[in-house]
Amino acid sequence: MADTLVKTIAGITTEKTEELIAETLKDMPEKAAKKRAAHLVANEPQSAKCAIKSNKKVVPGVMSQRGCAYAGAKGVVWGPIRDMVHVSHGPVGCGVYSWGTRRNLMQGIPGVTSFPLDFTSDFQERDIVYGGDKKLETLLREADELFPLNKGLSVLSECPVGLIGDDINAVTKKMEAELGKFVVPCNCEGFRGVSQSLGHHISNDSIRDHVIGKREFSEPAGPYDVALIGDYNIGGDVWAAKPILEEIGLNVKSVWTGDGEIEKIAATGQVKLNLIHCYRSMNYMCKVMEEKWGIPWLEYNFFGPTKIEESLRAIAERFDDTIRQKVEEVIARYRPQMDRVLNEYRPRLEGKTAMLFVGGLRPRHTVGAYEDLGIEITGSGYEFAHQDDYDRTAPELARGTLIYDDVSEFELEKFVEKLKPDLVGSGIKEKYVFQKAGIPFRQMHSWDYSGPYHGYEGFKIFARDIDMAINSPTWSLVKAPF
């Protein structure tokens, strides 16, 4: 990566970007501007360390788009595991708002073998006063009785639980012994940490302490056993990614956690290689498994044909000639399909620009897919990334590209107004702000109710969606002729 050419974009320079940042900050209160200044930079692709500050507290009042630790635990890590009952432990709201709103699709029979439901202890005043441990114990029993084929239960704490001094860990320990299946505590109260990111980490800790190394696969281990880490099956992403890995001869033994199965996750210690897509939310798990069982891990990127090919070849290098050969066959098989997609859409999108603001992976991982379509990224940033994410981002973007961490609505509006991208890719809270202004937009957390976007099949849909967003005739109606 170090020796790739440094990208540039016509009209984008470090000086101009720094000017834009300064201009934006000058309208902010001094203290806030000082804090925010460190989170906004012009990209320098060749520096080893991106000069941005990240993973810091939200500046109060600026209208951050961030969520909380619970959101990171329930929405991201635990929720997608399909054969578990996930209990939102605390008041009713958190579970309701996160029910079915992340699009982590799952197989199974709902209520029988899969549980895309909202389970909650619906805390009342008396639970705050007297504590909710007893209630938790009862409800875990009730859940197990009503959903007997569940393979485990997770308990995800909401804010009050940690504040009133409940001990969910004692309850889950007792209930795990009683029920004879996984009963996992996750102390992911929303006030912990600075963003969703700590929720991922707390969940990783729970998996480390309570899940991994506790099961074994039914089949004997093979040389091509891998696990897919950090693919949450948004809009069916896993179902577009897993078949490619199988086509190149690998045996995907478990998926973390999209359409995931808890016992397979628990047996992942037996695989030969961990393949990680969302580095932010799961890299710690790879490191744990590496340390514990010596399992190597590899980051890959399945957005767009360029990155898919690059990633497949890198994966092949971890195996033998059989896999290497199959990888080349797969690449050759799909290239004509991908060329057809590019021939159709690239002429319609060439030279367009886009700005991104997403979670912990896509602001860099999707860059290649846009570029495959001829779209340049003029601004990118993360809700909850850390330094290592930004270090991985810098080389992917052009020199001088605006990078923003935990951007506020105020800042993003200014940036978009100035850079005038043809598309903004971000979340539901940002979507209509920009669409009102007549700027095409795609939700890049949820794939805007479309997807999958991963893999070869996903790219076909991605290309179609980006084209329809930018080229929809509806945008020409925005300005009234009178």
């Binding site: 073998t113 929303g190 397979k264 920009f434």
Partner: protein, 488 residues
């Protein structure tokens, strides 16, 4: 590989076992166990207080809702509104974290108010709380006063606040608390001695249907009754796409809100959303403050118009009478398609009462009526409404503090023809293989339903059209060839 502990094998469920459970969850036996639940809530049809507070807060001109507590809550509320309305929902929070839990949230509030005011220049910042400051006991009276004394925000910036703990009540109670707080704040010292301002003040309640609000305003305009809609989200959450993003796209003007205490009359159309607000108005305003049923169906709409006519001594215009006639025409023409059809209905108390009224007018049967958190008072009122109709209403059963998983058991063991409720009901509808008519909040899987009124005469026509045509579509799509015919 670790060798310290023996690894357990995978748990396998046989196909027969899966089939058994699949059938079992539809059974009477399961229903009994399901209804015996004491602690676990599954698929509730209600949300938490601050969501309702935020909806109210959005409904005032230049208002920036301010969440005192965890930032994640603010993001959840904003996302929920944006998904439902497909509109921006600007709100901010002071992002309390662990240190806030230890030292209280005053510093966060100071910084949050200062930044929010500087960046977004609101005319009012209604403040409401999440669980966290409620558990630790933050004193918002002192905090907001201190914020002004220390110059973080101007002294004259309205900062009404409401305590909205999520472990108490639901979104409709947050609605009440915030509305009362805003009126109390704005109207402080504004009450005149006896002379009312000649206006009607209307409280729509927690309604995710912007077209309903527009419809109220249209009626009152037609009647020539000067009116202010309180917490008016109709423009805020249904703003034009014309190339300009408006951070503050409408809402009740603050001076009009401040004058609420001098209204000739105030009517709440969702009394379960406004008990404390109405009570406060009764004691602190010049005019009369009353509640009326949500005007769904013909009779409730009649009652609303007649009451307004009586209060303001203005006749109901002929055009409205003609509208009524057209709605009744639609209902008589299409009665055969809904008569005797059984419905399961889930939602908030006021909406439920409105929907049931409409169903009874059509000769349909409101069969399973479920409110996932409410009071015995509501149950009594609903039962009284059902009792007014021995033929259609008497068959219905009211369930309070039961959730949509209970609803599933009801619909699987004692089937109905359709469900009326918000998007969350779609799981039951799918399992029961019946249509879901989306009425309520949130609707996050269909477009424009918030732009289609369900109140008033036009609302009755709209509901009727949605339901009847869906039933007829189903007949056309599923009947055998010999029964497929041109006319329906």
């Amino acid at each position: 590989m670790s060798t310290t502990t023996a690894l357990k094998p995978m748990t396998e469920h046989s196909a027969a076992e899966i089939e058994r459970v699949k059938d079992w969850i539809n059974s009477e036996d399961y229903k009994e166990k399901n209804f015996a639940r004491e602690a676990l809530v599954i698929n509730p049809a209600h949300a938490c207080q601050p969501l309702g507070a935020q909806l109210v807060a959005h409904g005032f001109a230049g208002s920036l809702p301010f969440v005192h507590g965890s930032q994640g809550c603010a993001s959840y509320f904003r996302s929920t509104f944006s998904r439902h309305f497909r509109e921006p929902a600007a709100a901010t929070s002071d992002a309390m974290t662990e240190d806030g839990a230890v030292f209280g949230g005053q510093n966060n509030l100071f910084e949050g108010l200062e930044n929010a005011y500087a960046l977004y220049r609101p005319s009012i910042m209604p403040i409401f709380t999440t669980c966290m400051p409620e558990v630790i006991g933050d004193d918002l009276t002192a905090f907001t006063r201190n914020a002004k004394q220390k110059g973080h925000i101007p002294e004259d910036l309205p900062t009404p606040y409401a305590n909205t703990p999520s472990f108490n009540g639901t979104h409709i109670h947050g609605y009440d608390a915030m509305l009362k707080a805003i009126l109390e704040y704005l109207a402080d010292g504004k009450k005149t001695d006896g002379n009312d301002n000649g206006k009607l003040y209307l409280i729509p309640g927690f309604d995710g249907n912007t077209a309903n609000l527009r419809e109220y305003k249209r009626y009152l305009q037609m009647m020539g009754v000067p009116c202010t809609l309180l917490a008016d989200i109709s423009e805020v959450f249904d703003s034009p796409c014309d190339g300009t993003y408006r951070l503050y796209a409408g809402g009740t003007p603050l001076d009009e809100a401040a004058d609420a205490v001098n209204a000739r009359a105030t009517i709440s159309l969702m009394k379960y959303c406004t008990p404390n607000t109405l009570k406060w108005l009764e004691g602190n305003s010049v005019g009369t403050s009353i509640d009326l049923p949500l005007p769904m169906g013909i009779r409730n709409t009649d009652a609303f118009l007649m009451k307004v006519s009586e209060l303001f001594d203005m006749p109901i215009p002929a055009e409205l009478k003609a509208e009524r006639g057209r709605a009744v025409d639609a209902m008589t023409d299409a009665h055969q398609y809904l008569h005797g059809k059984k419905f399961a209905v889930a939602g908030d108390p006021d909406y439920l009462l409105g929907i049931v009224t409409f169903l009874l007018e059509m000769g349909a049967i409101p069969y399973h009526i479920l409110c996932s958190r409410s009071t015995k008072k509501f149950r009594k009122e609903m039962e009284a409404l059902l009792a007014t109709s021995p033929l259609y209403g008497a068959l219905g059963t009211v369930y309070i503090n039961k959730d949509l998983w209970h609803m599933r058991s009801l619909c699987m063991t004692d089937p109905v023809d359709a469900i009326i409720g918000d998007t969350h009901c779609k799981w039951v509808a799918r399992d029961a293989k019946i249509p879901l008519f989306r009425v309520g909040f949130p609707i996050i899987d269909r477009v424009n339903l918030h732009r289609t009124p369900v109140i008033g005469y036009q609302g009755a026509i709209n509901l009727l059209t949605m339901m009847v045509n869906k039933f007829l579509d189903t007949v056309d799509e599923t009947c055998e060839d010999q029964w497929f015919e041109m006319m329906r």
